[in-house]
Symmetry: C2
Subunit: 214 residues, 2 copies
């Protein structure tokens, strides 16, 4: 089973590495970071670069595609080569997945039309012009299309996928191995629970927030 | 403020990238991935490489040091140059931190003697010979030394640190930006809560488990 994790300029690191850490532990999985060309691809904060070990052309028919989000997704949505690769890869995948604004790329490729999907809470409206039924849920399954909300939600998505692919016990083993027993010191991870002033601050600076890696 | 995240061969990716994603958003922070030499450093699954933009020699006096864990920590604990760098860097840090078996490196450098600290739940006993008071807590503060348990716990540690350094509102903003509102589909992230058979499986295969990225 080939898992292809797409990289593009100014992706958000945790969107890609959270699910990688868990999904890469599927027995028999071959995981590749892929990009237009082989080599380092720099993330949205500028201080991290992940190496793409394969070019898009070298991974034409993956079993799982994972598209991270990030401020660079706006540029990537206009990249015909990348969208063509997504459409072609999707013809062979058993799961086509995204984290955060990665779903905007899937939508731009026409893969989410009339489907339920999610994205970062600040950018849900941006999915609507693509005919997507945008929901605010953390992880959304619609057939083989699986989308996760902002950044850290890819970890939850990966556990769901591990369970579907390898069974509950495998997923639980990976959860225990990665000690995913979250204990955030604040309850501010969702606009439903965060202090109103914090939500308002991010909404008011929506463009800056998205540029910062929403 | 300089944040130095240490890389070494066969580190666990999420140990490094989880805290990076959050801490890197500290206003004014300059974050560097550092390693013995500049260039790509490959993680424990073999399929990921992060680029070290600076060599250890180029970052002699960081404000925050973060040491990820991983199966490569056993080799790294015997690397005199790396341990010397940790000791020297520690003389200027305001926070010296680790995730997972990263605390074993801090312990080997003599920085955790007589201190409370944590690590991956399967490796707590390994801290004892270094005079560390090992606890099973998820995030442990002892003065400026902050250690986190396995892999994903670095995200919780980063939120604690953001709160201490930048205040609760900043930490909450970053939590909301990264949509850290965990909803794991299983309650298996700790040996206290995981099904007994799952805990037993990982304990029985302890060496394999650690080699797999504990």
């Amino acid at each position: 089973m080939q898992i292809a994790i797409l990289l593009y300029d100014r992706f958000t690191a945790l969107d890609a590495v959270g699910p990688y850490e868990l999904l890469g532990r599927l027995p028999g999985a071959e995981t590749f970071f892929v990009a237009a060309e082989r080599g380092p691809v720099r993330g949205d904060q500028g201080s991290l670069a992940l190496v793409a070990d394969r070019s898009l052309a070298e991974v034409p028919s993956p079993d799982i595609v994972l598209v991270p989000g990030g401020p660079g997704s706006r540029q990537a949505m206009r990249d015909g080569v990348l969208l063509d690769w997504l459409r072609t890869a999707d013809t062979t995948t058993t799961w086509t997945t995204s984290v955060c604004t990665g779903s905007h790329l899937l939508a731009a490729a026409g893969l989410l039309t009339d489907r339920r999907a999610t994205t970062h809470w600040l950018t849900l409206d941006d999915l609507v012009p693509f005919g997507v039924r945008a929901t605010g849920e953390r992880v959304v399954f619609d057939g083989k299309y699986v989308t996760a909300a902002g950044v850290s939600s890819g970890i939850d998505m990966a556990l769901h996928l591990l369970g579907r692919i390898g069974g509950d016990e495998l997923a639980q083993q990976v959860q225990l191995l990665t000690e995913y027993d979250p204990q955030p010191p604040y309850d501010a991870g969702s606009p439903r629970t965060a202090p109103a002033a914090v939500v308002a601050r991010l909404r008011a600076g929506r463009e800056e927030t998205i540029e910062a890696g929403g």
